[in-house]
């Protein structure tokens, strides 16, 4: 029990042993909890994914005639050959991830889920999609195959001349 002398000499910043150990204990517990949270998040976030590679080999450029729009369902991209060159646009609707379809009779790309419609260039015509369909980088491999990188969208209107 603190006697009179101790109480008198108390400064505002003083705290006794009990308070010190309480602070120490709570502090360590918080650090432990924070550490657990971080490790927990890292555990839940997988480091290895068994998913197909985002680099797609689309075959020879000759397979895509002029003014064609080809949907590759397995990789979710369109490969298009226009007068300006080759380019690739995502086939996955930017609204909620449904696979779109090319409608040649209407000349548009349409999404079955909520009715979004896009031009060939990926620009949105109508519908609830918030963004135009992203463009993907297209290049020619050493073997002369068309390659598409689906991982990162690029600025639109960049064509590959072959």
């Amino acid at each position: 029990m603190p006697d009179e002398k101790q109480l008198e000499g108390k400064q505002p910043n003083d705290f006794d042993r009990r308070a010190f150990f309480v602070k120490l204990g709570l502090g360590s517990l918080s650090i432990a909890a924070a550490g657990t949270a971080v490790f927990g998040y890292q555990f839940l976030s997988p480091n290895v994914l068994y998913e197909p590679s985002p680099i797609i080999n689309a075959g020879k450029p000759e397979a895509y005639p002029l003014d064609s729009v080809t949907l590759d369902v397995n990789s979710g991209i369109y490969i298009m050959h226009s007068s300006e060159g080759f380019f690739s646009v995502a086939a996955v609707c930017t609204h909620l991830g449904c696979l779109t379809a090319w409608k040649p009779e209407l000349g548009i790309i349409a999404c079955p889920c909520h009715g979004s419609k896009f031009k060939r260039s990926g620009e949105k015509i109508e519908g609830p999609a918030p963004r135009p369909l992203p463009w993907y980088r297209v290049w020619l491999s050493d073997d002369g195959d068309l390659m598409v990188d689906r991982s990162t969208p690029i600025r639109s209107m960049q064509f590959l001349r072959v």
Binding site: L44, P46, L49, Y50
Partner: protein
């Protein structure tokens, strides 16, 4: 018959019986109260309830029936788990097996599916009935909040279970749903990645949804159901407007 009743009475006097059912048996109010009070599960309930509350017209027994569908879902769910492998594409074959090959498999799957729909419907109906009865008012506010949490758990259970058959219906419903999750500002994409265990709805997603649906969410539901029942008792039992003044019973709500 008389001898069977005698035999049962004799049974109840044995040491073994008395060791299991410590409070003894009998038809007195004391014994009947002890049945509730001495049982670890049943003592969530009070030993006495207001007679008026047991009329069908008061609560329509919606809460009871929601719990009933939950019990059906847990039992059919556990049985279905015995024939289901949460891998791709085996999950689909297993669902087909359950429907065509496993004895009573079709029945169990149907019962599980329709009970799930019934539970979602009943939980909404229960919420609206509690609201329109005014049974959310103090001191029962927190139990109402627990009820909202249970509503969310029910919807999550239904959503995670929806993916498990791995058919077209399941796959695209979950694709759209998880893309909505990525619409959450700031953390949306991370949440999407954690939920699916990847960027696409594939084997990782199926396994995570399976663990959520069969383990994490049911345990959470049981935890909150227990609190929900406990709070009914602690807040003074099922709510009914006081019967003393007829005009007060009619107005309001």
């Amino acid at each position: 018959m008389a001898t069977a009743a005698n035999y049962f009475d004799q049974l109840r006097k044995t040491r073994v019986w008395r060791s299991i059912f410590r409070s003894g048996t009998g038809a007195s109010t004391l014994h009947r109260s002890l049945v509730i009070q001495q049982d670890v599960f049943l003592h969530l309930f009070p030993t006495k309830v207001r007679r008026r509350m047991l009329n069908v017209g008061v609560t329509w027994y919606l809460g009871t029936m929601t719990f009933g569908t939950f019990l059906i879902l847990v039992s059919t769910g556990i049985l279905l788990m015995l024939y289901y492998h949460p891998s791709v594409p085996q999950a689909y074959s297993d669902t087909k097996d359950l429907q065509f090959v496993v004895t009573s498999g079709l029945f169990l799957r149907n019962l599980h599916r329709w009970s799930a729909h019934a539970m979602v419907f009943l939980v909404f109906a229960h919420m609206f009935k509690v609201f329109y009865r005014g049974a959310y008012r103090p001191p029962r506010e927190f139990n109402w909040v627990i009820g909202v949490i249970l509503l969310l758990i029910t919807l999550l259970l239904s959503y995670t279970g929806y993916l498990l058959p791995w058919d077209q219906l399941a796959y695209w419903a979950i694709t759209v749903g998880s893309n909505i999750a990525s619409a959450v500002p700031v953390v949306g994409d991370k949440v999407h990645f954690l939920l699916l265990g990847g960027n696409l709805v594939n084997a990782n997603a199926l396994l995570r949804f399976y663990v959520l649906h069969c383990m994490i969410l049911p345990l959470t539901a049981i935890f909150f159901i227990a609190i929900h029942f406990w709070r009914i008792r602690k807040d003074g039992g099922l709510y009914a407007p006081p019967p003393a003044e007829p005009q007060r019973a009619k107005e309001g709500q």
